[in-house]
C-alpha cells in the first residue's frame, strides 16, 4: 500500500502506467476489433488515414495499418517481456555465483561479462538472429544474450555487499546450504534493483526487436511494428502514414515503460532518488 502511495507521487510515472495499460488493453482486444489476419488485404491500397474505412490508412497491398498496430502491440510486449525474463534469469545466476563465491569464479564470470559488453550488441543480435533464422525464439534468445550482462553486474554488486552481513553469517552458522542462502536469503534483499533494471530492460528489448524487424529479421509469420515500418519505407514519398503511425506506437510504448521504470526506481529505492 505504501509502495503505491510512493509510486503515485511521481506524476509522470502514473502517466506512463496509464499509457502502458492502454497499450496492453489494445494488445488484448486486437482480435476483437480486428478479427482478420493483420497480413490480409482488406481494401483499397494506399488509402490515406480516415478514408475507405481505414482509421490510419492502408499500405501498398491494402493491409490495414491500424490492424497491424493493434496486433503488433502483442508482439512487441511479448518479445520485450520474454527476452527480459530470460536475460534477468541468466544475469541473476551469473551475478549471484560471481558475487557469492568471489575469487576465481568471480574473475571468470566477470571476464565473460566484460567480453559480452565489449561486443557491439545490436550487431551481435543481428548476427544471432541471422544464423538461427528469424523466429520468436531466436529473437528472444538474441535480445537476452545481449542484455544479460547488465543484470549480472548489478546482481554481483549486490551479492558482494550482502554476503558478509550478519544475517548471512547467521545462516552459515545455522548450517544452511549455499543455494538456500543465495535464493532464500540474499536474493530477496536485492529484488528492488532487479525489478527496476528489468523494467527498463523491457523498453530496450522492444527497441531492439523493432530494429531487427525493420531490417527484415522479424518472425515472418507475426505482425510487428518494426516490420510495418520496414515494409512501408519504400512508400515514404506517396504514403507517409504507413511508416509514421507504427513508429509513434513504438515511441509511446518505450516512453511509457521508461517512465514506469523510473517511477519504480523512485518508489523502491528512496535513497537513490535524484535530487530534482
Amino acid at each position: 500500500m505504501e509502495f503505491w502511495k510512493l509510486f503515485a507521487r511521481n506524476r509522470s510515472a502514473v502517466m506512463g502506467m496509464v499509457i502502458l495499460v492502454s497499450i496492453l488493453l489494445m494488445a488484448i482486444s486486437a482480435p476483437l476489433f480486428f478479427p482478420a489476419d493483420p497480413f490480409s488485404l482488406v481494401g483499397q491500397s494506399m488509402s490515406p488515414p480516415g478514408q475507405n474505412g481505414f482509421l490510419l490508412g492502408s499500405d501498398s497491398l491494402g493491409r490495414d495499418v491500424a490492424a497491424g498496430i493493434a496486433h503488433g502491440a502483442k508482439t512487441s510486449l511479448l518479445i520485450g517481456l520474454l527476452a527480459t525474463l530470460v536475460a534477468v534469469f541468466v544475469g541473476v545466476i551469473m551475478g549471484a555465483l560471481a558475487g557469492y563465491y568471489g575469487g576465481l569464479v568471480d574473475n571468470l564470470l566477470m571476464r565473460t561479462t566484460e567480453m559480452f559488453q565489449t561486443i557491439p550488441s545490436f550487431l551481435f543480435a543481428i548476427l544471432l538472429v541471422a544464423i538461427m533464422k528469424p523466429s520468436i525464439n531466436s529473437i528472444v534468445i538474441a535480445i537476452a544474450v545481449v542484455s544479460w550482462p547488465a543484470v549480472a553486474r548489478l546482481v554481483r554488486g549486490e551479492f558482494l555487499s550482502l554476503r558478509n552481513r550478519e544475517f548471512v553469517q547467521a545462516c552459515h552458522t545455522l548450517g544452511m546450504g549455499d543455494i538456500r542462502i543465495m535464493l532464500g536469503e540474499i536474493l530477496p534483499n536485492c529484488l528492488s534493483p532487479i525489478i527496476v533494471i528489468g523494467s527498463l530492460m523491457v523498453a530496450s528489448a522492444i527497441l531492439i526487436e523493432s530494429g531487427l524487424a525493420f531490417l527484415g529479421l522479424g518472425d515472418p509469420n507475426i505482425m510487428s511494428w518494426g516490420f510495418q515500418i520496414g515494409a512501408g519505407r519504400t512508400l515514404l514519398r506517396s504514403a507517409w502514414w504507413v511508416c509514421t503511425f507504427p513508429g509513434i506506437a513504438i515511441l509511446l510504448t518505450v516512453l511509457a515503460i521508461n517512465l514506469v521504470g523510473e517511477g519504480l526506481n523512485d518508489a523502491l529505492n528512496p535513497r537513490l532518488r535524484e535530487h530534482s
Binding site: R111, F122, S210, L215, R233, L236, C243, I250, L251, S276
Partner: protein, 328 residues
C-alpha cells in the same frame, strides 16, 4: 620520473588485459561461423548450381574443413591475425578488402555524430543543470526522455519525409551526387549536405544520453568542497561554473563517449541502411540480405576489435586527464 614509469606500466597492463578479450572475441566468431548452417563449400556449390559429392569432399579437404574443430580454430586464428577474414562469394572479393573500402564513410559518420552528440549534450546538460527545476530544465529533460525512447530508423524516415521530401533541403540518400562529377570544395559541400540527416539521426539517442549524464555530473560536482571554497573566495557563479566545475564534470562524459562506441556501430547499421550511406553498416545490411554470413562475421569481428581499441585509447587518455585514476 616515477610517474611516467608508472604510466608506461599502466598502458602495458591495459594492453595485456585486452589480449584475452580479443582472443575470446575471435573464438566466439569462429563458433558463430560453425553454428551457421552450411560451410563455404555448400555456398560455393550453391553458387555453381550443382556439384558432385566427390567434388565437394575434395574442396573440403582443400580448405581444411575436414580437419578436427580445434585445428580449424588454429587456422582461423592464424588467418585473422594475418588480416585474412575469408572470402565473400557474393561480392567476389576478400572480406578484408570490402571492409576496408567501406570503412571511411562509417568513420566520417561516426566522427560527426560523436562531435554533435557530445557537443550539444554538454551544452544542454549545462543549461539544464544551471537552471535546475526551471522550465529550461523541464523542457530539456522531456526532450531527452522522448529521444531516448524513439527508434532511430523511424527518426531517420521522418526526417526524410520532412526535410527531403516536403522541404527539399537535404538529399534523401547516398553520400554524394555522382552524376554531378563535383571536385574539390564543391564535392566537400555535397558530401556535407548528404551527411546532415544521417548525423542528426544517429546522434539523437546519444545526445539524450550525454545530456542526462552531463546534468547529473554537473549536479554532483556542484556539491563538492572545492566549489564551496571557490564561492567563499568570492568568485562569480559564471567563473565557478566555467572554470572550476565544467572541467571536472566533463570527465564522465568523455569516458561514456568511449563506452558508447559499440552501441554507435549498431546504430550505424540502422542509420546507414535508412539513408543508403555506403559504409560498414550498409555493407552489413547488404550482407544480411544476400545471406553472406562470412562478410557479416568479418564486419562483426572488426567492429568488436574497434571497440576494444577505442576503449583502450579512452582509458589511456583518461588516465592522463585525471591522474587520480589509479593505475594500481
Amino acid at each position: 620520473m616515477e610517474s611516467s614509469k608508472r604510466r608506461t606500466r599502466y598502458v602495458l597492463k591495459r594492453l595485456l588485459q585486452a589480449i584475452p578479450i580479443v582472443l575470446a572475441i575471435i573464438v566466439l566468431n569462429f563458433f558463430l561461423l560453425q553454428m551457421a548452417e552450411g560451410d563455404a563449400v555448400d555456398v560455393l556449390a550453391g553458387e555453381a548450381g550443382s556439384a558432385t559429392p566427390e567434388y565437394m569432399a575434395e574442396l573440403r579437404e582443400k580448405f581444411g574443413l575436414d580437419q578436427p574443430l580445434i585445428i580449424q580454430l588454429g587456422v582461423y586464428l592464424k588467418n585473422v591475425v594475418s588480416l585474412d577474414l575469408g572470402y565473400s562469394f557474393r561480392h567476389d572479393m576478400p572480406v578484408s578488402q570490402l571492409v576496408i573500402d567501406r570503412f571511411m564513410p562509417t568513420l566520417l559518420l561516426m566522427t560527426s555524430t560523436i562531435l554533435l552528440a557530445v557537443g550539444f549534450g554538454i551544452v544542454l546538460g549545462l543549461i539544464a543543470a544551471s537552471g535546475l527545476n526551471t522550465w529550461r530544465d523541464t523542457v530539456i529533460s522531456i526532450f531527452a526522455l522522448i529521444t531516448y525512447a524513439t527508434p532511430l530508423f523511424w527518426v531517420g524516415l521522418m526526417l526524410i519525409v520532412v526535410f527531403s521530401l516536403k522541404l527539399g533541403w537535404f538529399p534523401t540518400s547516398g553520400m554524394e551526387n555522382f552524376s554531378m562529377f563535383y571536385h574539390g570544395w564543391e564535392r566537400v559541400v555535397d558530401i556535407a549536405q548528404h551527411l546532415v540527416l544521417p548525423t542528426i539521426t544517429l546522434s539523437l539517442f546519444y545526445l539524450a544520453l550525454y545530456t542526462r549524464l552531463m546534468r547529473a555530473s554537473m549536479l554532483e560536482q556542484a556539491g563538492q568542497d572545492y566549489v564551496v571554497t571557490a564561492r567563499a573566495k568570492g568568485l562569480t557563479e559564471r567563473r565557478i561554473v566555467f572554470v572550476h566545475v565544467l572541467r571536472n564534470a566533463l570527465l564522465p562524459v568523455v569516458t561514456m563517449a568511449g563506452v558508447q562506441v559499440g552501441a554507435l556501430i549498431g546504430g550505424s547499421v540502422i542509420v546507414e541502411s535508412v539513408f543508403a550511406w555506403p559504409g560498414l553498416g550498409m555493407l552489413a545490411f547488404e550482407a544480411l540480405f544476400a545471406r553472406d554470413l562470412n562478410l557479416l562475421l568479418g564486419i562483426f569481428l572488426l567492429s568488436a576489435l574497434l571497440v576494444v581499441a577505442v576503449n583502450l585509447v579512452v582509458d589511456i587518455i583518461y588516465s592522463t586527464l585525471d591522474p587520480r585514476i589509479e593505475m594500481a
